[in-house]
């Protein structure tokens, strides 16, 4: 069976799981909306971004990027659960192209991200977020987000294949500083110099800023690498991550038989 077909079947499996047990995907969505409400409504009034008072306009693209990051842990958790349950072994012992396993995972994860985007944008609209851009630019922004999600898929797969027990939990914690020391919530121009440099080079910042530019939302940056290079960086960072982690994941997968 070729990878595309088995991948499609495994994505369908995930959809069936969502239907039978909607609590899991729903909690995921509630979590995203909750973040938007907390940061948009509760903290929104107290956070100021340079060049405007439109914090919700700044926040929505940032949160879209953050859900992409947190998506990494759903990839990792699901892969690990299948390995522990012996389902991965069952699939490995079948005459099936092994890329299908990751393709199936990726299909479901990208779909979940797309649903999260739609929901966040809808709630964002209710809270006053507006895009001042062409539909094509908005679509391009969403594709950039999915591109980052695709790269993080490999990060999740790699961790699932190589880390055991507590180390897996540690990844869940590491995501928070990675998410927060970026331009997701605050402008780098408001950060202490050291942190600002880290935030500028954070791959999430490139995507968040590029999406803000494409949506016509405040970017919070008036100069520096992000202001000038956000879009190419948002293309290159995921490419680099994939280029490194795809072969590493493939290697880790082959090592399962050692």
């Amino acid at each position: 069976m070729n990878a595309l077909r088995s991948g499609g079947l495994l994505t369908q499996r995930e959809l069936l799981r969502w239907i039978r047990q909607p609590a899991t995907p729903l909690l995921n969505l509630v979590f995203s909306v909750m973040q938007l409400l907390i940061f948009g409504v509760l903290f929104g009034g107290s956070i100021v971004v340079p060049g405007g008072d439109d914090y919700i306009g700044y926040l929505v693209p940032g949160l879209l990027t953050l859900t992409v990051l947190f998506g990494l842990s759903s990839t990792q958790t699901a892969m690990t659960a299948d390995a522990t349950r012996g389902i991965t072994d069952r699939l490995r012992a079948m005459p099936m192209n092994s890329s299908g396993i990751v393709l199936g995972r990726g299909g479901a994860d990208l779909l979940m991200s797309a649903i999260e985007f739609a929901l966040l944008l809808a709630v964002g609209l209710l809270l006053g977020w507006r895009a001042s851009a062409s539909p094509a630019a908005i679509l391009l922004g969403l594709l950039l987000l999915l591109w980052l999600r695709f790269a993080l898929l490999w990060v999740g797969v790699f961790f699932a294949l190589t880390l055991k027990g507590p180390a897996q939990v540690a990844i869940g914690m590491v995501m928070w500083p990675v998410g927060f020391v970026s331009t997701v919530f605050v402008s780098p121009e408001r950060l202490p110099a050291g942190l600002a440099a880290v935030a500028e080079w954070n791959p999430l910042s490139a995507t968040a800023t590029a999406v803000r530019q494409l949506f016509g939302n405040p970017t919070g940056v008036s100069g520096g690498i992000l202001a000038e290079w956000a879009l190419p960086l948002a293309l290159l960072w995921p490419l680099a991550l994939t280029a490194v982690l795809l072969p590493l994941s493939a290697h880790a997968y082959r090592n399962l038989s050692r």
């Binding site: 069936l16 349950r85 012996g86 072994d89 069952r90 490995r92 079948m94 099936m96 399962l256």
Partner: protein
């Protein structure tokens, strides 16, 4: 007929080491089509390692094997198309229903949608799972899960089926159901390699038993031959408090007499079968001891190991 032509599995010298320590050490194994082979051994003997190597999940460090004509090392895909694997944990999706699991795995195995649905219904019937077919697997009992797990491997009618401790943790009724399923699978022409920690399970099901200890083959024989080598069944008599010495004296003349003061039992080899049993009871009667309980039992796996490793050392 050429020897080996009808063998579904032919393995020679399979070895697997973890950090230099062999988990499996030179396993030779041959399975004719439709036969059941029992791989018997305690925890850590290397049973799962053997199964995982043969099911292409682990690469052996040495040795070779052919499965249904496919070379294990060079044609993993061919091997995979000929085998079914039921691992030590039930590898089914807990959220999906039994039917959805069957259809999913059938289709992943290349069966068309229509055939997958038909085959799923057929197997649900055969394994007596119709009533639970559309419920989440998370609501299934251990026995039902195990049956579904086995059903999943039969979707593609494999030539060789691996069952890794299929009855560990099951209640007696579920165990009996699994046993009859295994017999039927072999009857339908699929060879079965079954691992177990229970001598009686291997004895009931297998045409041939290989005993593994610390990764090495300690014995490989037909169950009857093996049992003969292991010695006779045992008669275990539970005695009333205080009568142990009298009983020991009365049973002195029998083979393999031993007493266990802690449990208040005397054990005698049933060399002559039921006749020995009658003689034991008569001897006790004569010395005025009335047993509280009498049972006839097979050597336990522990005794098998003692017997086999003793012979190894000698």
């Amino acid at each position: 007929m050429v020897e080996g032509m009808t063998d579904v599995l032919d393995a020679v010298g399979l070895t697997k080491r973890y950090r230099g320590v062999p988990a499996l050490d030179g396993l030779d194994l041959t399975l004719p089509a439709g036969s059941i082979h029992g791989l018997l051994g305690p925890n850590g003997a290397g049973k799962s390692t053997a199964v995982r190597v043969l099911a292409t999940l682990l690469r052996p460090d040495a040795g070779r094997a052919t499965i249904a004509g496919h070379d294990l090392l060079t044609d993993a895909r061919g091997v995979r198309s000929a085998i079914g694997l039921v691992g030590q944990t039930a590898a089914v999706d807990e959220v999906l229903s039994g039917r959805q699991n069957l259809v999913l795995f059938a289709r992943l195995g290349g069966v068309s949608r229509g055939d997958a649905t038909r085959r799923a219904t057929e197997l649900l019937g055969r394994f007596d799972l119709e009533d639970a077919a559309d419920r989440s697997v998370s609501t299934y009992s251990g026995g039902m899960r195990r049956k579904l797990d086995i059903a999943v491997t039969l979707l593609r009618r494999p030539a060789l089926l691996f069952l890794d401790e299929p009855t560990t943790g099951l209640d007696p009724r579920a165990r009996a159901e699994v046993w009859s399923a295994v017999r039927r699978i072999a009857h339908d022409g699929t060879a079965v390699l079954l691992t177990t920690q229970y001598l009686d399970e291997a004895d009931h099901l297998a045409d041939r038993i290989t005993v593994l200890g610390a990764g090495r083959v300690l014995a490989s024989d037909a169950p009857d031959t093996l049992k003969r080598r292991l010695g006779p069944d045992r008669i275990v008599v539970t005695l009333p408090a205080g009568s142990l010495d009298t009983a020991e004296a009365a049973l002195e003349g029998f083979d393999g007499t031993s007493v266990d003061a802690e449990r208040s039992t005397a054990t005698v080899d049933a060399s002559g079968g039921p006749r020995t049993l009658l003689a034991v009871l008569a001897a006790l009667e004569r010395s005025g001891v009335t047993p509280e309980d009498v049972l006839l039992r097979r050597p336990t796996l522990d005794e098998v190991f003692l017997a086999l490793t003793d012979k190894e050392l000698r």
